[in-house]
Symmetry: C2
Subunit: 144 residues, 2 copies
DNA sequence: CTATATTGGTTCGTTAATAGGACCATTCTA
DNA sequence: TAGAATGGTCCTATTAACGAACCAATATAG
């Protein structure tokens, strides 16, 4: 074993496995067309709607990319664009009922992963892991 | 604070920051055309060459994708395809001198990140983080 | 109060990444 | 030795991503 992979690579491996499982659960629930990039954008939408540029920021993609992703999500019925009452230029991207049916599925699978990881590591190591990751956000999370 | 992000998402955030920095260092060293996907493939190449299908496996992409990536890397002068002496069907993808100039740059930046993270967390928390991530590989790493 | 700058989004055009399917050559195996 | 499996490639299509140019609405300078 004695593998000595970079810490960031080990994070990548684990997070990719999680993403893959969550997306699998989403697909299994019948939401076949949703892709990873689209899901990433969906996650950034607040309950009362979010501007496209904010969404782009959160997902760390260009505005044009966010536009394209929202286009697809809109065509598939997961979001709608409504005018921002406070600013005539802006529009708010809002989740539809269709999307609201989707979120619990994703959250449940995420829960399941979290539980399995905790079982595998034991409570202290899991707590330590989360603690370290939270601390790392201070130096790695450009948003917040 | 009290954020309660999923563990896997926090991993994603940190690993993305690291990838972004390593790629930045690579670009800053003059290797402008190399992309993330290409770098990911490069990392899987052993010193004495590696088969394309193994590469595809390691990077978790389809053979066709690996073919396309190797095409680009080959055109840019980072790898070469040589016949596998032991198997007439196979060809070995090997790093060129150009690529060998690149790897230390990536490794150095990775080192720097590792050091900064350790400083930010302190030695025990960093050790605990690595330990937990190594353990998680047992349930999340499809390769090994 | 107008002229200009900024902001929020979209459109156009291009490139990278990815994979399904078909396919060929070589090697393995029953 | 015939048929299955393996290693790669080609063709094609879709998604993701972004620079550049652009329009409409708002904010700001003079």
């Amino acid at each position: 074993m004695a593998d000595e992979l970079p810490t960031s690579l080990m994070m990548f491996i684990a997070s990719r496995a999680a993403v893959s499982r969550v997306l699998g659960a989403i697909h299994a629930a019948g939401h076949d067309e949703v892709t990873i990039a689209q899901a990433r954008l969906l996650m950034g939408i607040d309950e009362d709607g979010t501007r496209l540029s904010v969404l782009a920021d959160r997902a760390q993609v260009a505005k044009q990319t966010a536009t394209a992703l929202v286009d697809k999500l809109e065509r598939a019925g997961y979001v709608e664009r409504v005018r921002d009452p406070g600013d005539g230029r802006a529009r708010l991207v809002r989740l539809t009922g269709h999307a609201h049916a989707l979120l619990p599925v994703a959250r449940a699978e995420e829960e399941r992963i979290e539980t399995e990881w905790a079982e595998h590591l034991g409570p202290e190591r899991m707590a330590g892991l989360r603690d370290a990751l939270e601390a790392l956000r201070e130096v790695t999370d450009p948003y917040r």
